[in-house]
């Protein structure tokens, strides 16, 4: 743990001067702990999220990876009994600081959920909702532009361009999830959090969403929780392994899947537990 923290600190100092963009740290968790009432669900997690990279969080069910993800845009605030300790920064700012507005934070750190959850409104309204509440479009034409570009970025434009006024709930599961991604993109977030975005999708839809994640990496920083080892290996540059509320190991995905330091990671990746 200590070694890793020092590495992260080095990186943090380094990224100010270092030109290599893939080393810039976008978000950093410092000794993050989460309590649900009396029960502690997450212990002293130190984890960095690097700019324009995909960070995959893996681990067996109940290991705290989703809990950590939900800390990154303070979705845990909505649970009365949840309490977060430690420090999480976004571009050096503590997101749990009193001066940080949670609404603004969530506009900067968007989220895509496990189950596709489009609003029961038209496809257009689904995408336009975020920009509208944040006042991002002054005119109707601006809004049309945002909707179109978001749907294009989410690789669903061609499928829905002729039926923007139809309800978003009428799309197939894979299309709904891409619509949700488009909705998240529409508010131009810096970071997109994805909580098992493909677990409710069939393999073809999964492949499309994975492709999409890889494209989105150009413009956004992505943190993805996944139960699929192959998915983590395919889409992520860095992988973090959680177990029983602790961060077991974190590193470059290539290394994690070929030569992990921790035996638990090795066992989990090879399917010996979990």
């Amino acid at each position: 743990m200590n070694i890793m923290t020092e590495q992260s600190l080095e990186n943090a100092v380094g990224d100010k001067m270092n030109a290599k963009s893939n080393e810039v740290i976008k978000m950093r968790g410092d000794k993050v702990g989460v309590f649900y009432g009396e029960k502690q669900a997450l212990f002293d997690v130190n984890l960095d999220v690097r700019l324009n990279q995909v960070t995959a969080l893996i681990g067996p069910s109940g290991c705290g990876k989703s809990t950590f993800l939900r800390c990154l845009n303070r979705m845990n605030d909505t649970i009365d009994s949840a309490r977060v300790t430690g420090k999480i920064t976004l571009d050096e700012d503590d997101i749990y600081d009193k001066n940080i507005d949670v609404v603004e934070l969530r506009a900067r750190v968007g989220m895509v959920f496990q189950k596709p959850n489009p609003f029961p409104k038209s496809i257009y309204e689904n995408v336009a909702y975020g920009p509208r509440i944040h006042g991002l479009a002054k005119r109707k034409s601006d809004m049309d532009q945002i909707v179109e570009s978001s749907l294009k970025k989410a690789a669903i434009w061609n499928e829905v361009k002729d039926r923007l006024q139809e309800p978003g709930t009428g799309l197939s599961g894979g299309q709904q999830q891409r619509l949700c991604i488009a909705r998240a993109i529409a508010v131009s977030p810096e970071v997109i959090l994805m909580d098992e975005p493909c677990s409710a999708l069939d393999p073809i839809a999964t492949a499309r969403v994975e492709e999409l994640i890889d494209e989105l990496r150009q413009n956004y920083t992505i943190v993805i929780v996944t139960h699929s080892m192959q998915q983590a290996a395919r889409v992520s540059q860095r992988t973090a392994m959680f177990h029983l509320g602790y961060l077991v190991e974190e590193g470059a995905t290539d290394k994690m899947f070929t030569n992990p330091d921790d035996k638990r990671t090795q066992d989990y990746i090879t399917g010996r537990f979990g």
């Binding site: 845009n73 979705m75 909505t78 009365d80 609404v103 603004e104 934070l105 969530r106 506009a107 968007g110 989220m111 959920f113 189950k115 959850n117 489009p118 609003f119 029961p120 909702y129 975020g130 509440i133 944040h134 309800p167 709930t169 949700c180 909705r183 998240a184 508010v187």
Partner: protein, 438 residues
């Protein structure tokens, strides 16, 4: 069949069958179904008996016997001293029943000097003729001196006799209609002068001691005022309270206590709300008695728990994924509620509200306590004027002895049931149409 399949079948037969009590299970299932059918049949039978009784007793209330008479608006009767130009009271106080009586006498060919016959004529036409004719003259004084056909209301007993509700085999002295009157009635009927017409008075008249001129007009207006007040007060307060409790309030002991209290309030007998209204609104705040405004307030208190419980259930039924989606996009809690949760919960809220309103519409006990059981003849112009309500009108008519009032009571029950059914059907239609859009 091949050998192989024979073999496998033989194998299956050879296997000893376990007794897993299938027979007993199926028997139990059949018994349970029979119990269910019996229960539903008993319920339907009672419903049918109730509806048949009410309708068979009440449908005649929608018809009223009238006698079409050529009324001569004789100046000598209306204004014998010729002072109507200076004294407006003359036209109000004039002896209008005399006009109707004269017309009837002429029609039946009775000698006005024949006192016993003239006496028997008393109580043939309704005293309501006074108001009927006065309204015609007040509306247009130029009718004085002319003759026109008017449908004069028959008296309640003649109305009952005309509808065949009076047993003529009973001794003449012990029934309310004399043989002479029956003869006249049959004569007028044969002439086509005496006939039944749709009883618009049932919907327009106020309270009256005479059945033929009493109606539910005041009760309908009073109930309407109260429903508007309940809707205007209970819906916003109830929805606001529900949203706060369900979406904003922290779950702690205090909110638990509030929740328990709301559930308890929904079960409080309505008469207790009536006492509360009497003590607080009338005695303490000095609001007027018998006013539909106070009735509306009391019914609001009574309906609030129902609306709050229904609204909270509707809000809680909106899936959490919608909340997460809105919050995840950076919507504030209020935006989440008003843009997403409330529209999705609206059908459930409306259904709960309509059912609460229907319950309030049929409520009698609290209204008795705040004095809405009153003899109100004139339409209330504002919610602060004395009024009655539909169920209270039924209660008041139920206390009357006359056959014609019993008939009107059943008619009023039919009208109230129609209102209630219309409201409940609206609730069901709304629920069907908008249910589960996600």
């Amino acid at each position: 069949m091949t050998d192989i399949s024979m073999d496998t079948m033989a194998g299956a037969v050879a296997r000893p069958r376990r007794d897993i009590g299938l027979k007993a299970r199926y028997a139990a299932e059949r018994r349970f179904r029979i119990y269910g059918v019996i229960a539903i049949s008993v319920g339907l039978a009672f419903l049918a008996i109730m509806l048949i009784t009410i309708v068979s007793k009440g449908y005649t209330a929608f018809w009223q016997t009238t006698v079409t008479l050529p009324i001569t608006f004789d100046e000598k009767v209306i204004d014998p001293s010729g002072k109507r130009a200076t004294d407006p009271n003359v036209l109000v106080k004039a002896n209008y029943p005399k006009l109707a009586e004269n017309a009837l006498v002429a029609k039946l060919g009775i000698d006005p000097a024949n006192k016993p016959m003239m006496l028997k004529l008393k109580g043939f036409l309704s005293e309501g003729a006074r108001v009927q004719l006065r309204d015609i003259v007040s509306a247009d004084p130029s009718v004085i001196g002319t003759t026109r056909d008017v449908n004069i209301l028959a008296a309640a007993n003649l109305d009952s006799a005309f509808k065949g509700q009076i047993d003529l085999s009973v001794d003449e002295a012990r029934r309310k209609v004399s043989n002479q009157q029956i003869d006249w009635m049959n004569k007028l009927k044969a002439d086509g002068v005496m006939a039944e017409h749709f009883n618009t008075g049932l919907f327009s008249y106020g309270a009256s001691s005479r059945p033929e001129t009493s109606g539910m007009g005041v009760a309908i207006i009073g109930s309407f005022y109260m429903m508007v007040i309940v809707l205007l007060l209970a819906l916003p307060i109830g929805v606001a309270a529900s949203i706060y409790l369900e979406e904003f309030a922290k779950k702690n002991r205090f909110t638990d206590l509030i929740e328990v209290n709301i559930n308890n309030l929904a079960a409080v007998p309505s008469i207790v709300f009536g006492l509360l209204g009497l003590a607080v609104f009338i005695n303490f705040l000095g609001m007027p008695r018998s006013a539909s405004f106070v009735g509306g307030l009391v019914l609001t208190l009574m309906t609030l728990p129902t609306i709050i419980i229904a609204t909270r259930a509707a809000l809680a039924a909106v899936p959490p994924s919608i909340r997460s989606a809105a919050l995840g996009l950076g919507a504030s809690k209020m935006q989440m509620v008003f843009h997403h949760i409330l529209p999705l919960a609206a059908p459930g809220i409306l259904t709960g509200t309509i059912i609460g309103l229907a319950r309030a519409l049929g409520e009698t006990a609290p209204l008795l306590l705040i004095g809405m059981v009153a003899f109100v003849a004139d339409y209330p112009t504002t919610p602060f004027d004395p009024a009655t309500a539909l169920p209270v009108q039924i209660y008041m008519w139920a206390n009357e002895a006359e056959r014609a009032f019993v008939e009107r009571m059943s008619g009023a029950i039919i009208i109230l049931l129609v209102f209630l059914m219309a409201m409940n059907i609206t609730a069901i239609v709304l629920r069907r149409r908008f249910e589960r859009r996600w």
